[in-house]
């Protein structure tokens, strides 16, 4: 009996393997038959391995291989340290609470904008975008200026001294303000895709408004909510700017500890091992997000979103939602006004008379950092964007060996905290054959590969919208694969390319967690400069720097949008975000 079933199972196994091999073999032959495609895939593949996978492997190895031998001694040392255990715990707690609270605020915004007819919708939209286009530690900086020892509200308005803003509470507020817009964008998309007619139908069936919300709207939004929470968890865990400013020594955070271990103690292996510990929860969350939540995500809600009179929310609830949204918005405005004011105030907290001194300082001493940042972001973003489009094209339209691996690896930067990447780059590129530390190249390469997923995502999204038969029609009319790509596919991808470019540019301009390990005296970044101004207590200069940074980003977005509008205003199927 058992022998028989064994035989059967073996036959089935080989039956599965053979066609698998022959299919892979066929794919290989097709690949070799198209040399251009083969070369492109080879170059992309090798560069992705070298600049994404290899640094990651270096971090992992340096955490568990000591003096060429496999050893857990560093990990053990970390685990046995009460302080570092605390840091791990704090990071997780911070991640979870920010995910919960940030998603809640994001949902409040999304639901209010999608399901009520309140005034000022455009205003709320802009409020939710601002934190995305500004450096991530602005929240922390502003909170210190408002609620710190010399804070405008604590010391100035309330006359308190000895306020404990450093630590959990202050950081949580900063993180929520920084990351709720990410949840908002996801959830707005989800709510918009749930046709209000479903809710109308449920209301017609006699459900009370609350019941309809609880039993129809919410369940349909659950995958989106889960996805938003996981993304927020990953981002908070990886965040470096806010904790560096606000966590303080009594509330250690893992990403900051890894940084201090390297820059303060010059203990690279231990810093690497710390960042490695950070990698575990964020990779777990990423894999859940990618392979589980996103599978349950695409609810096929048929029918066009008809213009339904919004009925789900009654009057009192509507104004309650409006007030909540308004309150959060006012707080966001307070945060940014504080920075703006701080940039012009002589001495924050004690002498509030206006001055241009800080801007003078920034444009004098700090001007090189501004230029460097522009050069680095200006060069890396378009390259990253093109690379993203190429990878998106390969992933969506071509079948070749290693396609799945290419997709996974190139999207990895979403999941890997910047701290890990930064440390990985130092480890990987500080000795021959590739000595890059201290150069412009290491910053460029880092930015290109770190933000390539942004381009890939928008490229994949647009390619999935482009009916493949459009490309087939071109081939059918006699175009070869190069002409089809050049005259049909590429022009259709251009809008996605630019909207991806905007995101990548913003990311590059506001990057800090990986870049802080890679800057040198020759190549500086504005974000890193702002950080060091904060550390040395020059809040005015930090604010002025931040204002200039946000100003540059806003100008860049407006210019790109304007160019796109000029060129593609009449174009069909060009979903322009932002």
């Amino acid at each position: 009996m058992s022998g028989c079933s064994l035989g059967v199972s073996i036959i089935m196994k080989t039956g599965e393997i053979k066609p698998y091999i022959s299919r892979k073999y066929r794919e290989l032959r097709i690949l070799l038959g198209d040399p251009l495609l083969f070369i492109v895939i080879a170059i992309v593949g090798i560069s992705v391995i070298l600049f994404i996978l290899y640094p990651l492997i270096k971090v992992i190895l340096s955490g568990i291989v000591i003096n060429d031998r496999f050893s857990f001694s560093i990990i053990k040392e970390i685990v046995s340290s009460w302080y570092l255990r605390q840091a791990f715990r704090n990071s997780i707690i911070m991640g979870v609470t920010t995910a919960a609270l940030g998603t809640l605020v994001g949902f409040l915004f999304a639901f209010t904008l999608a399901r009520t007819d309140i005034p000022f919708k455009r205003f709320f939209n802009i409020i939710a975008i601002i934190p995305i286009v500004s450096p991530p530690f602005i929240g922390a900086l502003s909170i210190i200026m408002l609620f710190g020892n010399n804070g405008f509200i604590t010391a100035g308005v309330l006359g308190l001294s000895n306020v404990k803003i450093y630590g959990f509470r202050g950081l949580l507020v900063a993180q929520v303000v920084t990351f709720f817009p990410v949840a908002f964008i996801t959830l707005k998309g989800v709510l918009d895709s749930i046709s209000p007619t479903l809710e109308d139908a449920a209301l017609d069936l006699g459900g009370s408004r609350w019941n309809v919300f609880r039993r129809v709207t919410l369940p349909l939004a659950v995958p989106g909510i889960a996805s938003a929470m996981l993304v927020l968890f990953i981002e908070t865990l990886a965040d470096f700017g806010n904790p560096l400013v606000l966590a303080g020594s009594r509330f250690p955070i893992l990403s900051v500890q890894a940084y201090l271990e390297i820059t303060g103690m010059y203990n690279l292996p231990k810093g690497a091992a710390l960042s490695l510990i950070l990698l575990v929860p964020s990779m777990t969350a990423y894999i859940i997000q990618k392979y589980w939540v996103s599978k349950h995500r695409y609810i096929t809600v048929t029918g066009k979103p008809t213009s339904s009179a919004i009925k789900l929310v009654n009057k009192p609830a509507k104004w309650l939602l409006f007030s909540g949204t308004m309150l959060v918005s006012l707080f966001v405005i307070l945060i940014y006004l504080t920075i703006l004011w701080g940039a012009f105030a002589k001495v924050w907290g004690s002498d509030n008379s206006l001055t241009l001194r800080h801007f003078g300082y920034v444009l004098g001493v700090g001007f090189e950092a501004v230029l460097d940042t522009l050069v680095i972001a200006g060069i890396s973003t378009p390259i990253s964007g093109v690379l993203g489009m190429v990878i998106a094209f390969l992933i969506v339209r071509k079948r070749f060996i290693g396609r799945g691996a290419l997709e996974f690896t190139s999207m990895l930067s979403f999941a890997v905290p910047g701290t890990v990447i930064g440390i990985g780059y130092i480890l990987a590129f500080n000795r021959p054959p590739l000595v890059l530390t201290g150069t412009l190249a290491i910053l460029l390469i880092n930015f290109i590969y770190r933000y390539v997923p942004v381009g890939i995502q928008s490229g994949v999204a647009i390619l999935q919208q482009i009916d493949p038969s459009i490309e087939e029609a071109a081939i059918d009319l006699g175009a070869d694969s190069r002409k089809t790509f050049g005259r049909i596919t590429l022009p259709l991808m251009v809008p996605a390319f630019f909207s991806g470019l905007i995101f990548a540019f913003v990311r590059a301009m506001t990057a800090i967690s990986a870049a802080i390990f890679l800057v040198s005296s020759n190549w500086q970044l504005m974000t890193v400069q702002i950080m060091s101004q904060v550390e040395s207590g020059r809040l005015g200069a930090a604010s002025a720097f931040s204002v200039i940074l946000v100003g540059i980003i806003t100008a860049a977005i407006l210019i790109i949008r304007w160019l796109l509008h000029l060129r593609f205003s009449g174009m069909q199927g060009s979903e322009l975000r932002f």
Partner: protein, 364 residues
Amino acid sequence: MSVKLQNISKFFSDPEYPDKGVAAVVDCNLDILEGEMVTLLGPSGCGKTTTLRVISGFESPTSGSVYIDNDDVTSTPPNKRDTSMVFQSYAIFPHLTVAQNIGFGLSLRKKPKNEIEKEVRDIMRMTGLEDMYNRRPDQLSGGQQQRVALARAIINKPRVLLFDEPLSNLDAKLREQMRVEIRRIQKTFGITSIYVTHDQDEAMTVSDRIVVMNEGRVQQVGTPFEIYSRPVNTFVADFIGQANFLDARVLRKSAESVDIMIGTAEKNIKSWSGNPEVGDTVKVVVRPESLRVKKSKDKNDGLNGVISTQVYLGPSVEYQIDQKKKTETFHAVTYNPVESGFFSIGDKVSVDFNSAAAHILAEG
């Protein structure tokens, strides 16, 4: 320009389960003559699109060969085959104007600008698109997009024109109008054409010959008349129009006719598929409109029953007649109730038919 398919088979492997393939097309042989319009007709999923894509070169067959004009093009890439496809989704290039769409093929061939413009204007006039020259695709109605797709395909004077359910996105009225127009344009240019549809009326209207497919296999190839009145099997008979299948036994056989026994009546049938032998039990197909319904007098003719449904449609009346004891039912349509009589539910009737209207199927 003729097209020939020789023993074409196409298997798709499911990427998740490589050992579980889908047989989309099985051993297909077809000969399409120059200037002919042939329709591939069959239910959804029977392999029509796959066959078309094998001809255009977008799918390479698992086995078999494709010939265009006696050239073996099996391994020629699609851009070198000189075929033009009109896609179900039209596949209009959204970033180009109507004129740029139509002239795309000519511009690839590096024709001078003014020649392209002239040809584009000519073809636009012929397809009723005169005023659309600089329009963008999103400013066109469904029917106009359809015309652009057609114009873009025929302007290149391809050796073969391929249509994949070109009318399925249009409303009923426009569909009827466009299929006449497609036929007209195809005849004007005399381009060999292969047309895929699952709509039998459409197939009847546009084709010189119809290829009926089911589950990847060709069932029958023939003119619309042959397909309707001489179907080879129950699938074809059932798929094209309605059919009554009557059991019969072969009594005698000669070169010109077969004598059969249906119920208690003897019939001399001149039309059959396959090779019926004396003593065989065969199926005879008779269309509803060929079935004559009479008040039943004699109970022993074997083809009688009771009217169970009656639907009055104005010009015609449809009856369903349940046979006693047997589970079978007859479907009959009468077009002239005044002459043929008018029956009500519960009436006992018998049915009869002219033996010229009957056809013996190939299968037992």
